[in-house]
Every structure is written in structure tokens, then in C-alpha cells.
Amino acid sequence: MAGSTLASATAEPAAILAPRPVVSPAREAWRRFRRHGLAVFSLVLLALMVLAVGLGPLLWPLAINDIDFAARLATPSAAHPLGTDDLGQDLLARLLYGGRISLAVGLAAMGMAIGVGTLVGAAAGMSRGWVDTALMWLTDLFLSLPQLPLLLLVIYLFRETLKNAFGPELGVFVLIVGVIGAFGWMPVARLVRAQFFSLREKEFVEAARALGAGRMRLVWRHILPNALGPVIVAGTVDVAGAIIAESTLSFLGLGFPPDIPTWGRILFDAKDYLDIAPHWALFPGLAIFLTVLAINFIGDGLRDALDPRRVL
């Protein structure tokens, strides 16, 4: 394989003779991941962010909706480390509180889009004939649906039932994640399907089939791991997309109630004050950017760790 030139047979006899330790694929993957400096750093960063939004609101004393007209649009100071918005509400508190929702929505929606997309794409890619046609018709349908009226309809139909089943906050959360995920799986499905088309004709798949591997095993063990490239990229791009989609929903009133400060919403509220109070938009923008960055580098590391062709 490229890059894996064997050492000369006469060079290190001792090394050749010594038995190599048996390592499970999971540990091998983790070892390769660890060699990726940026990926490890990003993992730590993400963990810190999750910790911050999880515990932060419990530790930081200021409330998210303490209106204080005297301190409007204040730049960062000791009392308000990230400044305040135009009603005098503390930005750090709002960022920490809203971060819970933004991160959760981003990750959950991404997970759903990836899960559904991969499932549909794999099924379509492996089959021929009517299953592929039917699934592609479904994909085309979702691609043509106008999001907004559908959102209005879904919210109108399901808001009450979800509220009663899960409680008001969790109900809205499930609704939002469902809606964003429902509109994000189509590109993943098409990408995975395309990958499957080209991979299933390759020799190693034929070989595995000749060895008697069943379809499920073919997909799970052989094709899917090699198709992961676009899936991982889609996943990482989707997180940012989900956080931003949530902000658009909030702006249209279809998301969380207006007093919940998700990152996208804070960004949206701050956009008209960009030249007056740039700090208001800077921090949520930075938060989203860092999240996306971290997840992307983790994705890169994952790719390199899991890809059997990479030999680091």
C-alpha cells in the first residue's frame, strides 16, 4: 500500500523477530486519533464547552433575564465579563444558558440527519430496482418541500401533543430537533448512496462476497467504513447548519419562546447593533465558530483514525 514500504529484511532482525502486541481495532483507532494534535485539543475544547454550559448557569450568579436599563449595551467589565445587551441583561449568563440548547440542538439534529441519511443512502445504494427508486422519490420529495409552510404545519399539529407528552421545554426541543433533522438528511442520503454505488463494484467487496459474506456483513464491515468520508464532513458541516437553522426558526417564532437566549437568537438580536455594540454579536458568533471548529477537527481525527487506508 502507498506509504507502507517495508523495512529491509536485513535491517532490524530483532524487531522482526519480536512478537507484535495484539491490539483491538478500537484501541488502534484511539492510538491513531491521539497522534492528531489538533483533534485531541479540539476534543478537550469541546468537553470544556459542554462542561461550561452544563455547570456554568449553576455557578454564575447573574440571571439571564435581569433587565437593568442603567447598564444597557455595556462593554465587558468586571460585573459583566461579556458585556450586556440592549435591555441590560448579562451576556455571559445568556450565553451559558443558551449554549445548552444550541449545543444540544446542534449535536442532536446532526445525529438524526446522519443516522437517517446513512440508513436511507445505504439501503438505496445496496439495492437495485424499486427500493432505490422509491427511496430516491422520497428524497426528491423532501428536497422539494418548502420548509416554512411545513414547519408551520408541523408545529401547529404537534405542539400540543408534544407539550403534554414531554413537558413544555423538552417538547419544543424534540420538535425543533425533529424538524431540523428532517430537513438535513437528504444530502447525506445522496452522498452515501453515491459512495455505495462506486464501492460495491470494487474488488474487495467482490472478494468478500466470494468468501460468503452476507449483505448485512458486506455493508457493515466492508462498505460502510470506507464510505465514511463524506458522512463525517456532512456531520461536521451540519452542526453549524443546525445551530444556525435554529436561530432562523426562533426569528420566525417557530422555535423556542422569544425569551430563551440560544446562540443563534442572540446573534440575530445583535445584528442591528453591529456598529454600535459589536461585543454583543462577537461572543455568540465566536461560540458558534469554536464549536464548529472543534467538531470539525475531531471529525478529521476520526476520519484518519478509522480509515483503514491511512497508515500513520
Binding site: 433587565i67 435591555l87 417564532g253 419562546p257 422569544p258 425569551d259 442591528d272
Partner: protein
């Protein structure tokens, strides 16, 4: 009433010359009448003075292009089908009406030769008819003469039920007759105190629309290529995007218009529209700037433009539901037969009233665009009550609730008899409104009342969709807030929102205009009396009484008297006002050199 007598005395003195106008205005202010309002009183007594900036240019044309920015583009150009102000703005570039309003709510003749009044015999003594004399020599853009036939035709066109026009409301309870080629008479079914009913309807030409009445009205080619009498002739129209016009060389007023072409662009949002006028000067006028005053002030500081505030009659109010939004009676929630379990207690209403920080809302959100007020009717000033005194006092609210027996529970929310003070507060999506909600919620929290905030997409909130539970007509919430526009300088339609026969209910598909479900026998009596009262001073007193009844009971909580906010380039001169569409006065706009 005492005020009535005083006012009458002073008017007589002005008429006889014993009292200068200026002093009358000052004295009237002492009674609580504001300037424009007192001026209107003078006007209705036949003593009006000039209120608008004088038109200076001495020749027609030469002003270059006029660029207007509306952040909602007009989608059609037939005034009888206008679905919103933006459409009326678009069509008013080309069409005109008999008269238009000025800042004080007085009429200024446009296609009429003069404004009818008792003195010139225009208004009949019994109040049942008004005679309009039309201007001589007015022609449509295609050269045809403008005559009384056109005016009468517009009435027939608008009231044809098959056409389903939006202007039919202007012609209710009256009919038009042609007296001669230049005279039209409006005859009311019963004596009406508000006679300028049809004065501001934009007029379309009979010779182009007669073949397209009723069901064929949407096929008229003139719908998309308007031919009017206005200062500009039609050039191009792209629905939702842009309207263009060029100078009308045969315009019936001399030396007007000043600009050679006019372009109206639509789309985008209010903030960037403000920027386009106030920061970059790309446009000369921006309409309806629903923007926080903080931002407007900073933009104005650039010195390229200014923000103009015009008082109309719009009131932003909070409504506490008179009925019970949860209980279902005869398959209907918020039914007029039910009463709200918590708001029916006057102590709760009083406490809610004490928790509204109108001044804070005015100072920090609306600024110059909204004036804190406890009154539902604020303009013209002769109808504004001076009797209600609002107060913002959280401690007092707490005291009132304590005295009424509402004890705080473990979660800090007050309750009595197992009922918690928890309310759902709904309004439409609109950044300033969400901020108002946040402010009220916080004040309520400090008094042990919890508000759940709900915001609904505007096109759903204001729709008349029978199946939707989120409309403001259904009012399936405890509190709601929105803007109500008075529409013209006479508060009859405004006050109709509190009469008992207009309560929105399942029977009338929630199309009744009384959405708060509040009503009272006294109010109904006063309203009926005002419908036929011809004496303007008695009428004003009746409306003030109605205002006090509605707002004093605690269910109707007016918040702000909202001004119409526009952006104008620095050298632009335009007589904008809150009663009429901005484009109504387009002929009088010019730019100083």
C-alpha cells in the same frame, strides 16, 4: 359638562376676535387638549389656520429623481384592492382622492375645489348629506376629463359585492348622486357626525374600469398600468419589487411636482431601509421605520438624514381577557358567556395595571416613536381624556395582592383558592414587542405573577383562519398585545372595538371587532348616542367618557401612542402626517437646494 361650556365660550371669543388663536390654544392645553387637537376644534368652528410647510419651488420639474424605500413592496396598484398600507402607497403615486388629511387631521382639497363646510353650504344643516364641488380642468393621464361621473362610478365599483373590494367599508350607509358634471352629493342613511367618510378614497377612471366591474375586476389591464390624475404618470411596475413613475406635465396644480421621476423600491427590512436613507443617502425616504429608537438616533448622528415622527391614531395596547380562555362553553373557548377566573377579581386587575412600566418601555424601546399613554384614543386631541392617571409601582402591586389574599407558594408564585397567578401572554413576532413582553414579565415576577410568553408569526396571528387557535380573534390566552390603528381622525371605528354586539365569537367566525370581549351597558349607551350626535363638542365629551369607561376598568391597558416613523434625507421637505398615506401629499414634496 363644564369643559364643554368653557370651550364654547372661548370659541366664540376667537370668532369675535376677542381672544387670539394663540391664547385659545394655550388655554385649551390647560384643559388637557393638545395643540393639534385644539387647532382642529378651531378648524371645525371655521377658524382653521395653516399647518404645513409652504411649497417653495417656482416651476414644475427639474428636481431629478425621487427615490423611496418601503420595506414591503406593493404587490398591486388598484387602490380598491389594496391589502395593506404598502399597496395604498404604491397606488397613491398615480391616483388621487377628493381631499387628503394634514397634520392636524384637517382636510386639504386635492381633486375637490374646496372642503365642504357649514359655511359654504357643503354640509347640510340636518347632517344627512355633503356636497362636494370638483376642481375644474382636471384630466386623467390619458387626457380624458375628470368629472362627477368618475366619483359616482368609484362608489358603484367598490360596493359591487362580486368584486369584494377592500374599500367597501368607506361606503357603508351612504350613497352618491351626481348633481352636475362637477358636483357630487353624498347622502347618508342617517345623520352622521363624521361626514368626510369618502373624502380620502383614491379615485380610478370610469372609462377604463367600467367594462371590468364585479367579477371581472381582476382582468382590467389598468390594474397593472394605472391611469390616474396624480403628479406622476406610470412607467413600470414589478410586483413586490418596484414601481416607477415620471412627471405628469398636465398636473392640475401649478409648479408641481418638483421631481422628474419617482422610484419606489420594496423589500428588505426596516433597519437597512433606515441605513439607506440616514447613513448612505442612497434613498430619499424610508417608510414605517419600526426600529428601536436607539439605533435611529445613532444613524441620525451621521447627519445625512433625519427621522420624522407623525402622530396618527395608533395605540399599542395590552388586553386582559374578559372571558375564560380555557373553559369550553358550547364548543367555544373565550366565550362571551364566561368570565376569566382570575381577572374578574378587581384586585388582580389593579395589580397588573401597577406592573406596567410604560415609561421604561417608551424610554428604552420605542423612544420618540411611542408615547406612554393610559388612553385608548389619543388623537385628535379633542378626543383625548385627561382623567386617567397610570402608575407603575411594584410594591403597591404586592400590597394589593397581599391584601386580597393571594399568598406566595413555594415556587414564589401567588395563589388563592388553589388558583395560581400564571398567565399566558401572546403577541405577534416583532422584536420591540418581544422586548416589551420581557419587561412586563420581569415586573410581574417581582410581584409573584408568572407569565408564559408566546409569540406567533404575524401572518397567523392576524389571520381570520377559523381553524387556527393562535389568532388574536380567538384570544385563547390570558393576555395579548398588539397595535390598533384608528384609521381616520374620528374615533368611532376605534371605539367600536368595545361594544357588546361586536364581540368575536364562533357565531360570527371570530370576525367581530371586539376581541377583548369586554363590554358594559353604559359604554353601549354612550356609543349609540355618539352615532347620531352632531354637535362636535358633545361628541368629543362622549368619546372621552367611553375611553374612560373602557380603560378605567382594568381589562384594556393602553401602553403607547405609536407614531408613524419615517426617514427623510436632509434637504427633503415633505408634509408627512399620521392620518393619511405618505404618498397622498406626494405632489407637495420637494428638495431644498
Amino acid at each position: 359638562m363644564q369643559e364643554e361650556n368653557e370651550l364654547r365660550e372661548w370659541l366664540e371669543q376667537v370668532r369675535s376676535g376677542a381672544l387670539p388663536r394663540r391664547l385659545f390654544l394655550a388655554q385649551a392645553a390647560g384643559l388637557g387638549l393638545s395643540l393639534p387637537m385644539a387647532a382642529v376644534l378651531l378648524g371645525s368652528a371655521g377658524l382653521a389656520g395653516a399647518a404645513e410647510p409652504a411649497y417653495k419651488p417656482s416651476k414644475r420639474g427639474g428636481g431629478g429623481p425621487l427615490k423611496l424605500l418601503l420595506w414591503q413592496g406593493p404587490t398591486l396598484l388598484n387602490p380598491h384592492f389594496a391589502t395593506g398600507t404598502k399597496d395604498e402607497e404604491g397606488s397613491h403615486i398615480f391616483y388621487e382622492a377628493l381631499a387628503r388629511y394634514d397634520v392636524d387631521g384637517n382636510l386639504v382639497p386635492v381633486l375637490a375645489a374646496e372642503v365642504p363646510s357649514k359655511e359654504n353650504g357643503g354640509i347640510s344643516a340636518d347632517g344627512r348629506s355633503v356636497t362636494w364641488k370638483l376642481k375644474k380642468g382636471v384630466t386623467w393621464h390619458d387626457g380624458q376629463p375628470f368629472t362627477a361621473d368618475d366619483v359616482v362610478f368609484n362608489w358603484q365599483y367598490a360596493t359591487d359585492p362580486a368584486a369584494a373590494t377592500n374599500t367597501v367599508g368607506y361606503y357603508l350607509g351612504l350613497k352618491l348622486e351626481k348633481v352636475d358634471a362637477l358636483t357630487v352629493r353624498v347622502v347618508f342613511d342617517k345623520p352622521s357626525p363624521f361626514w368626510p367618510e369618502t373624502a380620502t378614497v383614491q379615485l380610478v377612471p370610469k372609462h377604463l374600469f367600467a367594462p371590468y366591474m364585479g367579477a371581472k375586476s381582476r382582468e382590467a389591464p389598468a390594474n397593472l398600468k394605472p391611469v390616474g390624475t396624480g403628479p406622476y404618470k406610470f412607467v413600470e411596475f414589478r410586483p413586490g419589487d418596484m414601481v416607477r413613475g415620471e412627471l405628469n406635465p398636465n398636473y392640475h396644480q401649478p409648479n408641481k411636482p418638483f421631481f422628474d421621476t419617482v422610484e419606489l423600491k420594496g423589500g428588505g427590512d426596516a433597519v437597512s431601509a433606515a441605513r439607506a436613507v440616514l447613513q448612505t443617502g442612497e434613498y430619499d425616504f424610508a417608510w414605517n421605520l419600526l426600529v428601536e429608537d436607539e439605533i435611529l438616533k445613532r444613524l441620525e448622528a451621521g447627519g445625512k438624514g433625519r427621522v420624522v415622527f407623525a402622530a396618527g391614531g395608533s395605540t399599542e395596547s395590552l388586553y386582559l381577557n374578559y372571558a375564560d380562555p380555557v373553559a369550553e362553553i358550547d364548543g367555544e373557548r373565550s366565550s362571551a358567556k364566561s368570565r376569566h377566573p382570575l381577572f374578574s377579581d378587581p384586585a388582580v386587575r389593579q395589580a397588573m395595571g401597577l406592573l406596567i412600566d410604560r415609561q421604561g418601555i417608551q424610554n428604552f424601546i420605542f423612544g420618540r416613536a411611542g408615547i406612554a399613554t393610559p388612553n385608548f384614543v389619543n388623537n385628535p386631541p379633542r378626543f383625548r381624556s385627561a382623567n386617567l392617571k397610570p402608575e407603575f409601582n411594584i410594591d403597591k402591586a404586592n400590597a394589593v395582592l397581599d391584601a386580597a389574599g393571594y399568598k406566595r407558594g413555594a415556587d414564589g408564585i401567588r395563589e388563592k383558592g388553589g388558583k395560581k397567578l400564571k398567565f399566558v401572554f401572546q403577541t405577534s413576532i416583532n422584536a420591540p414587542r418581544q422586548k416589551v413582553q420581557a419587561i412586563i414579565k420581569q415586573a410581574c415576577q417581582k410581584a409573584g405573577i408568572e407569565l408564559e410568553l408566546k409569540s406567533v408569526v404575524a401572518s397567523v396571528f392576524f389571520s381570520s383562519d377559523v381553524a387556527n387557535p393562535d389568532t388574536y380573534g380567538k384570544f385563547y390566552a390570558d393576555m395579548q398585545m398588539y397595535l390598533v390603528s384608528q384609521g381616520r381622525p374620528y374615533p368611532d371605528r376605534h371605539m367600536q372595538r368595545f361594544v357588546s354586539w361586536e364581540i368575536a365569537s364562533k357565531a360570527n367566525k371570530w370576525l367581530g371587532v371586539n376581541l377583548s370581549r369586554w363590554h358594559s351597558d353604559e359604554f353601549d349607551k354612550a356609543y349609540r348616542a355618539s352615532e347620531t350626535e352632531l354637535d362636535p363638542v358633545k361628541c368629543a365629551a362622549l368619546f372621552i367618557r367611553m375611553n374612560d369607561l373602557a380603560c378605567g376598568d382594568g381589562y384594556v391597558v393602553p401602553l403607547l401612542f405609536r407614531q408613524a416613523v419615517s426617514g427623510l434625507g436632509n434637504k427633503m421637505v415633505a408634509p408627512l402626517n399620521g392620518w393619511d398615506v405618505d404618498m397622498a401629499s406626494l405632489a407637495d414634496w420637494y428638495r431644498e437646494t
